[in-house]
């Protein structure tokens, strides 16, 4: 009887389970290998490589940087905008990579490459916690991929990073250089969101994250971005008035990022300045320079007057954008008096904090055709015992001093230069803060600028009046 029970049980328990159709035609192992091979092929299929939107820190905390990468059979070449542990921005660094099948198909940069490993290195980010890093990832899950776009997810910080196929005509070094120019020129950390000429909100920038606060109030939103060769790209689109804006083109003349996405061209991110600030390019133009200079009587060997008038036409020309200009004389040959002309371009600086012009002590470019001795620009300040007489010392070139171009009239646009200098008394060693109204071109014995030989040109009470515009 027991046997019969077994028999019945045996018949009852047998199964034809294996007749079920396979869900997949091929085994799991084969499919995984295929996935690896497909991604390898895809990565290598871009002859000029990919633009990787590399986001840093937990939850995109530091924002992003562009990393260009090109995959060959066993190597990857990378370049980026920042110097990482001595790497040169824009230069290509090569290392190995692996696409492998783990819990999912993943991409690992598994030998050292400063471009992708520096931000993940311990011992750099925090001196009190050497195990800390800046939050860079170098191992990724391959989420999806097609001909033009591969989506990665960082294994440690889970940031999504997109690889976009680079056109064959993109020059890597140019791309990186341009992205760095944008980053340098867009120096403000406060911006307005402007839609169709109307301010609708404000951004504060920290690293590569814009924190947006709508003008109407409401919660702030963090918007990670990275600088591109044209401007910037937000990680996720900003939505305003039914428009979606992601890509922005930089215009340094207006200090504005203008949206370049179809349908959202009216959206701009505009640098925000203090109220009386002017943009760098506002100062470019032609001016009448008026000043006073000492009059030396060669018969009596005395300085007779300190207020001999000087007048010349100068042009303020852009030099290092958002940083400095050159002030050059327009027609030096036509200057009425040999003592008047500027002799060489005078560096003028743009104050990024307040949007004003400054003149500061600076060594000048050395030119053997004109000068037998090195020259520098020093500031003029009243002397201690004889009216406006001042004895320049070698220290004046290194003095903490400035002349600020105060805007005394908007029409005609007029700048009146005033400032201060920290002067050290040669005998007592005491420091005095004294007012300053002008500048002088000084000659020095040699280019160590240790010993002065006196002034060559002297411009006190300097005023610039714009003459090329309405």
């Amino acid at each position: 009887m027991l046997g019969l029970m077994f028999a019945i049980a045996g018949i009852g328990l047998q199964s034809c389970l294996f007749e079920e159709d396979d869900n997949f035609e091929q085994s799991a192992a084969t499919r995984l290998t295929e996935d690896v091979n497909n991604y390898m092929e895809l990565l290598q299929s871009a002859p000029n490589g990919w633009l990787m939107e590399y986001y840093i820190g937990p939850d995109y905390a530091l924002g992003g940087i562009p990393v260009l990468c090109r995959f060959t059979k066993d190597k990857v070449e990378m370049a980026t905008t920042l110097p990482f542990g001595g790497s040169v921005p824009g230069q290509k660094y090569s290392s190995l990579y692996t696409v492998k099948s783990e819990k999912s198909t993943s991409l690992s940069f598994d030998t050292y490459n400063p471009i992708i490993h520096y931000l993940a290195s311990p011992g750099i980010a925090d001196e009190y916690n050497p195990n800390a890093t800046y939050g860079g990832d170098y191992e990724f899950v391959l989420r999806s991929g097609d001909k033009d776009k591969i989506v990665l997810e960082g294994k440690k910080y889970a940031n999504t990073m997109v690889l976009t196929r680079l056109g064959d005509d993109v020059n890597w070094a140019e791309y990186i250089k341009k992205a760095n120019v944008v980053s340098e020129q867009a120096f403000r950390d406060v911006y307005n969101l402007v839609v169709d000429g109307k301010v609708v909100g404000q951004f504060k920038r920290f690293n590569w994250v814009l924190t947006y606060t709508p003008s109407t109030g409401g919660e702030s939103v963090e918007m990670p971005f990275f600088y591109t060769d044209e401007g910037l790209k937000l990680r996720i689109p900003i939505q305003v008035d039914g428009m979606e804006a992601v890509n922005f083109r930089w215009n340094v003349r207006t200090m504005t990022f203008n949206c370049s996405d179809a349908g959202a061209e009216k959206v701009s991110i505009v640098s925000s300045f203090p109220e009386d600030a002017h943009l760098y390019y506002d100062f470019e133009g032609t001016y009448k320079l008026t000043a006073t200079k000492p009059y030396f009587n060669w018969d009596t060997y005395e300085t007779e007057r300190w207020d001999d008038p000087v007048s010349l036409t100068v042009r303020i020309e852009a030099d290092s954008i958002n940083y400095s200009y050159n002030m050059v004389e327009v027609n030096p040959a036509e200057s009425p008096d040999d003592a008047n002309f500027l002799h060489k371009p005078i560096p003028v600086f743009y104050g990024q904090e307040d949007g004003q012009l400054y003149i500061m002590p600076t060594p000048l470019a050395y030119d053997y055709d004109w000068d037998y001795y090195p020259m520098a620009l020093c500031l003029v300040y009243p002397g201690t015992w004889d009216g406006e007489y001042v004895e320049f010392s070698a220290a004046d070139i290194r003095a903490e001093a400035f002349l600020k171009g105060n805007i005394t009239s908007e029409s005609p646009f007029t700048l009146t230069f005033k400032g201060m200098a920290k002067v050290v008394d040669e005998y007592t060693g005491e420091e005095h803060i004294v007012p300053s109204y002008g500048f002088a071109l000084m000659s020095y014995e040699d280019d160590s600028y240790e010993s002065t030989m006196g002034h060559r040109r002297w411009f006190n009470h300097v005023k610039l009046e714009r003459i090329d515009k309405e």
Binding site: M1, L2, G3, L4, F6, A7, I8, A9, G10, I11, L13, Q14, C16, L17, F18, E19, Q26, S27, A28, A29, T30, T33, V36, N37, T72, K73, D74, K75, S95, L96, T98, S108, F109, D110, T111, Y112, H117, A120, S121, P122, G123, Y128, N129, P130, N131, A132, T133, Y138, E139, K155
Partner: protein, 323 residues
């Protein structure tokens, strides 16, 4: 008859029960254990360094020299980065010349073949633990040695002292653990400085008079009868520190240590070292003096070694992807 009938029925049922409707054959071609395509890919993906490692580490010693970072080989509590390729090449050659070949020279090749850890894993960065201490190397159960901070190696100027501090002392140290775990040493050793072992406080020195706490210096350890502060943690560490420090230092270093240790400290160190020396000689047939001579000579030879791959190695491999 009934019994036979029952038995017959049982066997028929059993037969039916165990039969299966699956007509699929076992798919040997696509086994996860022997995935031919993946293997072919892996073989094709090998570069010249991989082939050099196959010939110099894998084939002779069955050692997997992992210069490519693998997170499952690493301790995930540390933030680490991979080793630089060129520096890995240099270190692989240095380790072979100064460590592997030194043992071969003194003990013959079979010795290392039997006892060498099967994995050497390189990591580019240091590993910093919670206290901010830099971990230089670790060994796990005699199976794996991890060498950290490889990217700090300067290829223009190979600094033997740095190599000793970071790598060779660690490797000799960990390898000596493997040896004594196989055949233990004379327990008389543990009794010589029985009261000197301080466990995990080995790096802390407390001034007996003022009670102030300092980092323990080498000299303080020497005077207490130990070759390094770390040797004070416990007897097994003490034992292997003797070997690691003896073979990586010159006789004059050793003599200076004994002199600085004072009469009492020197006597203790010498007593212990005699046991260490005899253990290595009698148990493993290794004369530590000869091993030291080989290690030190080979260290000086490093600067004459070619630490690069052959010229064509830096080019991209030309193997086609086997389909």
């Amino acid at each position: 008859m009934k019994k036979i009938y029952t038995a017959l029925l049982f066997s028929v049922a059993l037969g039916l029960g165990l039969s299966s409707c699956n007509e699929d054959k076992v798919d040997f071609d696509h086994s996860i254990f022997e995935n031919k395509e993946a293997q072919a890919n892996a073989e094709a993906a090998k570069n010249d360094f991989d082939r050099w490692l196959d010939a110099n580490y894998l084939a002779p010693y069955n050692v997997s020299f992992k210069y490519r970072f693998e997170d499952f080989e690493s301790d995930i509590t540390y933030n680490l980065v991979p080793a630089d390729f060129d520096k890995s090449v240099a270190l692989a050659k240095i380790v072979k010349h100064v460590w592997i070949d030194a043992y071969n020279e003194v003990a013959g090749p079979d010795f290392l073949r039997t006892y060498i850890p099967r994995t050497i894993h390189l990591v580019g960065s240091p590993a910093y633990d919670g206290a901010g201490t830099m971990v230089l190397g670790t060994a796990e159960g005699g199976m794996k040695i991890t060498l950290y901070n490889v990217n700090d190696l300067s290829l223009d100027h190979i600094d033997i002292n740095m190599l000793n501090t970071y790598y060779f002392k660690t490797m000799h140290h960990e390898f000596a653990h493997i040896l004594h775990q196989r055949r233990n040493f004379d327990q008389a050793f543990t009794r010589i400085t029985e009261n000197g072992y301080v466990g995990s406080n080995w790096y802390i020195y407390t001034d007996p008079e003022t009670g102030e706490v300092y980092g323990r210096s080498d000299k303080q350890a020497w005077q207490a009868g130990f070759v390094t502060p770390y040797a004070m943690s416990e007897a097994h560490e003490d034992f292997v520190e003797n070997i690691a420090n003896y073979v990586t230092h010159t006789q004059s270093y050793w003599d200076n240590m004994l002199e600085q240790a004072g009469a009492e400290g020197a006597a203790l160190i010498q007593q212990k070292f005699t046991i260490v020396y005899n253990y290595m000689k009698e148990t493993w047939g290794i004369d530590l003096d000869k091993l030291r001579e080989a290690v030190l000579r080979r260290q000086t030879e490093v600067e004459r070694l070619d630490l690069t791959l052959p010229e064509d190695a830096s080019n991209e491999t030309t193997n086609s992807n086997a389909e």
